[in-house]
Every structure is written in structure tokens, then in C-alpha cells.
Subunit: 352 residues, 4 copies
Amino acid sequence: MNDKSVKVAVVGASGYTGQELLRLLLMHPCVDLTAVTSRQEAGRKLTDLFPRFRGAKGTESLAFMAPDIDAIVESGATVAFLALPHGVASEFAVPLLERGLRVIDLSADFRLRSAAVYEEFYGAPHPAPELLEQAVYGLPEFYEEEIKSASLVASPGCYPTSILTPLVPLLMAGLIDPESITVSSLSGVSGAGKKADTTLLFAEVNESLRAYGAPKHRHLSEIEQELSIAAEREVKVSFVPHLMPVKAGIATTIFCNYLPSSETVSEEVGNTLQTAYDSRPFVRILGEGNFADTKNVTGTNFVDIGWVVDTRTNRLILSSAEDNLGKGAASQGIQSFNLMNSLPETCGLLNF
Amino acid sequence: MNDKSVKVAVVGASGYTGQELLRLLLMHPCVDLTAVTSRQEAGRKLTDLFPRFRGAKGTESLAFMAPDIDAIVESGATVAFLALPHGVASEFAVPLLERGLRVIDLSADFRLRSAAVYEEFYGAPHPAPELLEQAVYGLPEFYEEEIKSASLVASPGCYPTSILTPLVPLLMAGLIDPESITVSSLSGVSGAGKKADTTLLFAEVNESLRAYGAPKHRHLSEIEQELSIAAEREVKVSFVPHLMPVKAGIATTIFCNYLPSSETVSEEVGNTLQTAYDSRPFVRILGEGNFADTKNVTGTNFVDIGWVVDTRTNRLILSSAEDNLGKGAASQGIQSFNLMNSLPETCGLLNF
Amino acid sequence: MNDKSVKVAVVGASGYTGQELLRLLLMHPCVDLTAVTSRQEAGRKLTDLFPRFRGAKGTESLAFMAPDIDAIVESGATVAFLALPHGVASEFAVPLLERGLRVIDLSADFRLRSAAVYEEFYGAPHPAPELLEQAVYGLPEFYEEEIKSASLVASPGCYPTSILTPLVPLLMAGLIDPESITVSSLSGVSGAGKKADTTLLFAEVNESLRAYGAPKHRHLSEIEQELSIAAEREVKVSFVPHLMPVKAGIATTIFCNYLPSSETVSEEVGNTLQTAYDSRPFVRILGEGNFADTKNVTGTNFVDIGWVVDTRTNRLILSSAEDNLGKGAASQGIQSFNLMNSLPETCGLLNF
Amino acid sequence: MNDKSVKVAVVGASGYTGQELLRLLLMHPCVDLTAVTSRQEAGRKLTDLFPRFRGAKGTESLAFMAPDIDAIVESGATVAFLALPHGVASEFAVPLLERGLRVIDLSADFRLRSAAVYEEFYGAPHPAPELLEQAVYGLPEFYEEEIKSASLVASPGCYPTSILTPLVPLLMAGLIDPESITVSSLSGVSGAGKKADTTLLFAEVNESLRAYGAPKHRHLSEIEQELSIAAEREVKVSFVPHLMPVKAGIATTIFCNYLPSSETVSEEVGNTLQTAYDSRPFVRILGEGNFADTKNVTGTNFVDIGWVVDTRTNRLILSSAEDNLGKGAASQGIQSFNLMNSLPETCGLLNF
């Protein structure tokens, strides 16, 4: 541990997002893991559940503990990552914030500005509406300053990140028709969580491709919230997620009508995206005619963006790829963590 | 062999489509394989290249022969399947037709009614434009009668079948806006052929998902031709194919604006599709709220169709699945073969 | 249904073996499925759980029923397949046999001749030891005559079939040292059953290979029983099963010391295997220098066998492949069914 | 770059081993990549071939150059990694050594102490026998001191590393019978290289498992060389490699007769392995009853070892796992590099 080390707790660390958080935090040069909780694995050594981590600094003495607020506070952690189901996360966020910790929540609990929209999409009243105003949507590419000083960061969902990064700058620049957007996304199986569910068995998923969740997947709520902010008007999109036979990775393909002339649209799109992300280390612009491939981003915090212009139909086709557990979850949370702690944004995240 | 057996040649049988044709023809109760050609495998026993077929009736004596017109004719074949690259197929179609064989061509050579569109999409003048008028587009669900008496059947491409089956009846019924169609399709790797190409290696494709070929994939030409016929006006669509890490299977997701009221659209869509395919054994209507899964159609001649209505955006989302080597190629060709030879349409094709 | 149709019940049809049994029985020309049971799916349409079977003859009216003996008997079934866990199977076998049905049990309950060995390997007293004497081990290649007249067939385990087919003839011929046998087998994930177990999730299995169950996997008991019969002395082997990232398939590699001279051993092995399996339609001898590949046997009832001679170490290396759900379970059970009902051994099983 | 940075060239960097070398060297804190060669990619930007590396330090200006000795020397490199085919590697090793560079060769050219054995297994006279004496076998767990001062390190093959690490200490301790060893190994497809070979296509490898190369795979030569040194007598083993459907990873299962009593063998094996690897950071002893899983080592330099004792047959069964591109190739080479340059052995290699 060095002088800048921040004491960190991971609450709910036995699932796939928790595992990826642990992987990255164990290698992070400025992190001191003080508490790792899991209700069902309490008492078990970290490396018993995750043999992959044997040999990482500090793992010999790390064991899962029950998710107890007092114990987390006593561990000395000043930042807590919550990798919990929605609804459960706020049960921990509220007391941890009260005890003075800063919270990076990877659940959906604090992503929406409106408790009513939360209830519409999640089917239950919001568990802690009083916190919605102070929560910051943890997409550092758009909310860097707010994240730096935030107490409560609501890290975005996996699909939204892959959809918002290509679309937000284009909507802000007025280059596309907000009413024309259709989105097809594909996610690796880890996106569904480490659930004892027969539909996620290898023998069900391999050599299979299937859509699900349309037309009103829960992530639509935050996608449309952020697109509407960018467009300065209400935006509704059609969104179809699919389950694909890979462990990790999201590929997104977006269709939308472009507004500039066919002659200039590609250049305008390119300039807008380049300008928007010029100083952002984790967005890679592949350029026109290139499509993003999930295999180039797995295990990383990058999101890759490419596009083609379909002049026959006046449509722009955008392609993006990210790791659903990376830029879609764990590493994006750590990107916020870095900003919150005045560390370099890329600290511990430049993996290839 | 029984009395109804038809003598059949397969020209170009060493690729994936050829292999699937052989698999199905070897099990077909009314087929007598008399000639199996492959330029590069000439002289080799069939079961040396395809050990899977050891034990199938007749394979002991079957060997690949060079693709010689005289030899094919002398084998006694009355029907020839062509599983050849576009451009090459017509070199065989022309003389085989002249010698009195009926030809089922699985290449793109005779799918388009217009030689000009062929040249636009395939980048070369059409090799045999004089045959375009007599060629029948081999989608039995729409061209059954023409196929029955055809000499030359142009079996559809893999993507088009998965896109046309859901869309054609809806366009004919005027239920959707022809200008609003966007299509995202995913294909298994066998769709790219058995090519010594490093981009298709297992180590490149596994844990990878990538778009390609947009915005002007060659299959667009036949997709738009048939959609335009159905809509009785010119239809252009945006189409993005993707390569997914499965051996076989195509999943297609289609977005389009519906024209009926939100209250009745799902019922109208359901009735229209049910009516269109009521007597068609290979189209399975899954109903509203269901998505097609490629694993339910691999190795079969089925295409499955489901849909959801997105009333928030006035869009209909259609989902279809087929085997790119099955209903997308080989078994669809055999379906035409059955019709051409007055056999039951399902003969040899009811595999599960 | 034709005149020769046999009325068949499948008890425990919702798992992977049950699903494969249904797939094959639905296509079998001489089978009339009268009862399909599943405790957890009772009342549900067959095609709701298995959409793949939509369109198969008779499926429209088939629904899962609760596993009730009276109802099975009343369905008119004369043969019952049991695809149940060990221990549970005998609860059904006993009353069904009493009611006059013939039973093909795919569990381990009746594979062992000794109740003591059962208890040693399965950790519980044998549930119906009085039936052990009448049960026939359902490997048609070795017990054809006994199967034809059997009331109770104990269909072999998946691993044993892949190990016994290459070894039994060689032990009978005295070509290998019975004390020298080591076996490494790999199974697809369906072999572990359709269990809601997180260790079988796609995200745990893909890009993973792991051994398990050694040194005393339950299948060892029947492997050693049958090898000892063949060798006419007690044979013990070392056996390591592995889980591999495929849906279905078993690949087995066997090491053993050969007894003939290095000059003649390969010919003697080849002659012995050829002679043993000359008239057996489902064992394919690939010959020396060839290794069996699971992809050539998936979905079929074949077992492929190849070998090499390692003269540097005086060892014979045998390689076999089968489908764990096919020759390792469902289709092998149907092979016995055919024999029991005086049908051609290959009836309904010549799939490629 | 920091003060300790070593200037490094990678010769033959476009294949899978080269790609993994680049990935690790780009993240290595004490490496300055000065030359990256590829005959077929010369002139192309590094990130054009490998988009995954976009954003890594220094990649913006890196391009492949033709493999020219003068250019490599002029780049200032003091160490060259050779990721070339056997036979070709020595063409570069000889002049680079003459020009004063230290060479880490990942090919087979300098792994064998005997030019005669090389010719027996590789089918051609050794291309530079005069260098065999000075070459050091680059398994740091056994040859640490020799590696530190070596000019020419011959990094081991992928299979040998997974076989030697568990066996060498046990043979040295006299715990197992050297004549009893049989080995079954499985490799991911990247082990076959980035070759335009249809047998390595996704559609050929997925849902497939097949042995190959037995009984005399080339790696046997170095396996037996090192086992014989450990046992202080000639050791011959039977070895069967298999191709499995994963991108990367090797799983090895070893059978051998143990010499201690059944009561003490497991403890003696455990103590021997623990002692041998106590201070070695990259060998992880999983303990008795545990099997190594490739998914825990992919992308890392670890080799995991577990075992079970089969008292029924007096055999010890060893299980190991590594990444064929990691501890089996690229990262193991970097481990040697660290030792050669007085860097911490784990520098740049503690990835999880």
C-alpha cells in the first residue's frame, strides 16, 4: 500500500460484478481492501470462492464477512462499492452515507432522477427517494465534475453505457432525429448474474441466440433519461437486448435518421465524436466503416465506437462494444472512484 | 431406394452448404445420389472428408468427382443442386439446363430479376442474364406453384429468408410502414463458408461479436426486391449483419412502424401471420411476447417467428430464427426439390 | 402410426436425457408416445418446455403428466423409459414391471450385479436388490440376446459406453494387460444434467476445462464390472472425467500396455475390433492413426474408435467418441427398445 | 519509461504468441519496445492489426517493421524475443547474439541438448548446433541461476511446462515410478497458431474435441529430456495432446504409479511440491482433492497443480493448468527476461 491508498469495502462481492471489482481492486495501486462482504459466503476465504485470485497481494488474509454496517465502518473503509440487487443496495447506501462513507452503487437504485419512473420500471416504490437529488449518474465522460465531489455515485447499467456514449454527443449536436432511434444490443451471459437458473446453463446458451426483455427492459428508463437530457426534449427509443453465447461483452448496433446532408454527415459525426472524447481515455473512436468487436474490450474499461452512413435510407448506423462487467459495471465504478479520490482517472484501469 | 427415387447430383459439395445438403440427401427416402463433385476433393471418398457420414446408406461407394458436365449427365441425375460461389454457379447451370437437368442453385446468380441490380451489388456483369426470366425465387412459402414447374430454382440467401418470412405478409396486408424498416441479423460462422481465413479461426471468433458488411450487404438486393413486390412499391431497408460465435443459426430482429392502432396491431399481426402460414409446415408462429431462439431451429428447415408491440414508440419488433445452412440454404433447396418432384413438401425434412 | 407401433411412456422427461429421448421417439416410425411425465412440469404442453419439437407429429396434444403409475399403465404403454435420478428410478421400475410393462432404465439403479458394490459407490443400500438378477446391462453390442427378451434393461452410463466398447474385445482377446489401464474422459455439460447449479452456468464453463470426480467416480463400478467379465479376472482402472465446454459429446483416451509384439499389435488390435463390430451398425472403427472427434457423433447413436501404437513405451492408446446423450444414454436405450420389440436395431436411429 | 527500462525487440509479432508478448510488454513498467517485426505486416500500424492495444502507452507510434537484423540492432534493443517457427528462429538468433543482443527464443530451436534428438523429432538437421551448449532451458522454476546470466534462453513449449512442473520435483524425490507415466493434455486453439487452416475454423472446433499428434508429438523430446534429468535415468512417457474448444488454456492430467505407501503418499507429494515451489511466485499448489481449472490461469503466468491418490490402483493422478500463451509461452519468456535484467521476477506479470 502506498501513501495515497484509499480504504475500500465491497458489499456483495460474490457475484460476477463483485468478482470483477475484486479483480481490479486487488491490482489497483492505490486501494486497500478492508472489507469484502457476502451474505452466503460469509466466513469463507476469498481465494476459496475465487481461486483465480490466489497470489494477489493481500488475498491470503482476506475472507468474506457478513454484510454488517458496523463491521464495514470499523474496517476503516472510506469508500464502499455496492454490488447488490436493486432495492437491496439502498438498504446499505443509506446507513453507510450516514456513517460518512462515500458510496459507489452499481445497482439501479439511484440512477433515475424520478422516483415515479423508478416505480414504473422497477415495479415498486423507490426505497430512498430522498437520496435521488444528491446521487450523481456515474458516467465520467459526461459527469466528471459532479462525480469528483459526489458522496453517492449511481454507476450506470451495462446496456446504457454502450448506448449513451455514441448517442449523447450526436443528440447534443443535433445531428440525428431523436424520434428515429432503434437499438439492438447483445450481452454476454455474465450480464444475467451468477444465478442458479437453468436458462443460463452452458447447455442452454451455447449455440443459441435469443432476444429477451423487449419492449420495456428496465435499462430503458435510464437510457431515455440521459438521451432526453442530451436532446433537451423527451426521447423514446426502441431497444431489444439479446443473450449471446460469450462470457462477457456487449455489442450494440444503433439505427437512426441523420439530419445533415448525406455528403457531410460522416464528417460531422466523426468530428463531433472526436471532439467529445478527445480527452477521454476510455472512449476509442474507430472511425467510419469500422465496427466495434467485443473481443477488443473484454477485461478493459474501454468502449469502442464505429459507424457507417447508409445514404440509401438516410440512416446513420452506430456500432459500440464494451465489457458488460467492465465499462458496463465494475471498471466504470472504479473510474468514478479514481475521480472521487483525486487519483488519475486511468489509475489501475489501463489493462489490455 | 424406392420407386419414387430421384437421381440427384450435388455440384460443389465440399463446403458447409454442400455438407448439409449431403447430410439431408443421404437420409432422404426418395433420393439417389449419383454424383457428388468437388474440384479440390476429386477422387477422395466422401466419408474421408466427412467422417460423420460413415454408415449412411450408399456412402461406402461414394467419392467426390471433378465437376464435369458430361460426367454429371452420365450419372443419370435429373436434378442438380449447385452449392457454388456466385458467378461460378451459372457456368454449370447453363449447360446442365441445356442437357435437360433441373437445377436448384443455392448461389446468388439467379435470385435477382434485374441484371443491373446484380451488377450493382455483385460488382460484375451478370453471367447469364438470359436465364433470369425463367428462374424462380425458391421461397416455397411464396412461390410454391412456380417452383413446382420450374427448371431453374434460385434458392434464397440465408439472411433474406429470415427477413422475408416475417415481413412479406405484413407488407402485403399494409400493416407496417415500408419506409421504417431496420434489421439487425446475426449469423453463425458457417455462414461465412469453409474458407482458410484467419478472421474465422476459433481463436478469433469465440468470445467475440462483431458487425460487418453494412450498409450494403449483397443480400440487401434480394431482400428489397421481394419486399418491394410485397408492398407494391419500392422498399429500402437498413440492414446490419453480425458474426456471432455459434456454428450455425441466424437470429433476426426487425424494427418497423406499425400502421393500425396500438390496440389492435398485435391481433392484426398475429392473424395475418397465422393466415399466411397456416398451411405451411416450416413456418412456426410463436405468438406475441415470444422471441425466436436459434437453438430451436438448428439442423431443421423451420423458421420461427415471434413479435412484441412497442406502443411507447409505435413500433412493431419482429424476431425470427432459422438455421443458415437449413432454411437459409440446404434444406430450403430440398423443400423446393420436393415440390418440383411431386413429393410431400416435408419429405426428408421433418428433423428435430 | 403404423401397425408395428409400440406404445411408449417416458418417465422423467424434462431433463436432457428425457429431452433427447423425446426427440428421437417423436421421429421414430414405430413409436406411439402415450405418456410423458415430469413432476415439475405436470400440466404443461410438451412444446412449451421444448419449442424445438413444435411441428413434430403428435406434439400438439402431448402434455407432461405427473408421474403416476396408474396413469402410465392406463395410457396403454407397454414399454417405459425411465430418465430419473438413481434411487428414484427403482421406485418406478418395481411397480411398472409388476403391472406388466417392460422397463428401460437409464439410471444407475440396475447396472450392477452386486448390491454391495452399488452401496459402496452410491452410498446407500440398493433400493430393489431382488431385481438385480433379472436386469440386463443394456449394451447391445455385448448383450443383444439377453436384451431381446429382457423385462428390465439397465442402460449403461455415458462414460462406460465410451470405455467398454474399445476395451472389452481387446481384453477378451488377451491383447492388453488388465492392470495397466488409465482412462481420461471428457464430457459435454449436458452430462451433468439440467440442474440449477451455478458451477454449470455458461459463464463458468466457457473457456474452462476441469477434471472432477476422480479417483472414484460412480461410473467406475460398472466399468470395472464389465471389464472384469471380459478379462475373466478382476480389473481395476484409473479413471479421470473432465467437464469440457461443449453441449454434448464424450471423448475418451485410454492408455494400456499391449501384450503382443510391437510388430503385430496394431494389426491384431484392428482385426479384433473389426471382427467384434463387423455386424454392429453403431460402432465405427476408424483404424490406426485416427482419433475420434466428438463432432462426428453428436446427435447420433454411433461410437467411433481409433488407436495408435506407442512402441517407445509398449503402450496402446485408444480413442473413442460418442454423444453422452446419444450412445451414452437416450439413443442407446432406444437401440435396446428396438431389439426388445423385434424391430430393426437401427430403426429411427440412423441420423447423421 | 523509467530508469530501469530495457529496450526490447519482438521478432515475429503477428501471431498469437507475439500478440500476447506485445500485450504484456506494453503494460510492463520496465520495458521500452523499440522494434516489432512481422514479414507480412511490415509497415502496418500495430493497432491496425491489434485494435485491442489502442490506448496503450507508445502504441500510437509503433508500426510493424520487416525482420531486418540491422534495423533491430539500430533500434537500440538489448533483448530480443523471437516468436518465430522452429528453424526460422535460429536464423535470427545467431546474428542477434553476434551483435550483442540477448535472445529469448520461444521456438523449439534451442530447447534440446542433443542435435540428434532435435533431428529425430523435428525431421531436419539442427540449424545451429554450436549454440546448444550455451542455450539455457527457460523454466525459471528449475534454471533460475542459469537464466540470470544467459545470453540465449530457450523458452519451453506449452505442453512441457504443464507436465514438468508437477512431475520434476516428484521424480527428483523418488516418489513415482518413472516407467509408469501417461499424460493426457488439452490445449486451446491458439496453441495451433494463427494459421489459415480450415481445421481450425470456429465451425470445425466448436462442439468438437479431438486428440492429435500421438504417439510422438514434438514436445515429447523436451519433456523426456527434462524428466530424465530429474530422475537421473532415461524416462519415456506416453503423451496424448487434444484440441479443445477454448481460445487459450492447457489442462494436463497425469497418471503414474506412486512408490511410497498409500498411507503417506499424499502427504509426501504435498510436502515435496510445497517445498519445491514455496518461494516460486507462479506455481500455485491447490492441494489434494483439487483439480486445476484453466479458467483460473488464462491471461496469467500461473501454473496451478492439484492431485488425488487412487489407492485402489496405487496411482497418483496429477492435474495442472496454465495458459498456453502465458506460462506456456509469452509470460514465461518475460519471467526469464525479468531474471536476466535483475528485475523482480514478477515484474509486469501479476495479472489476475
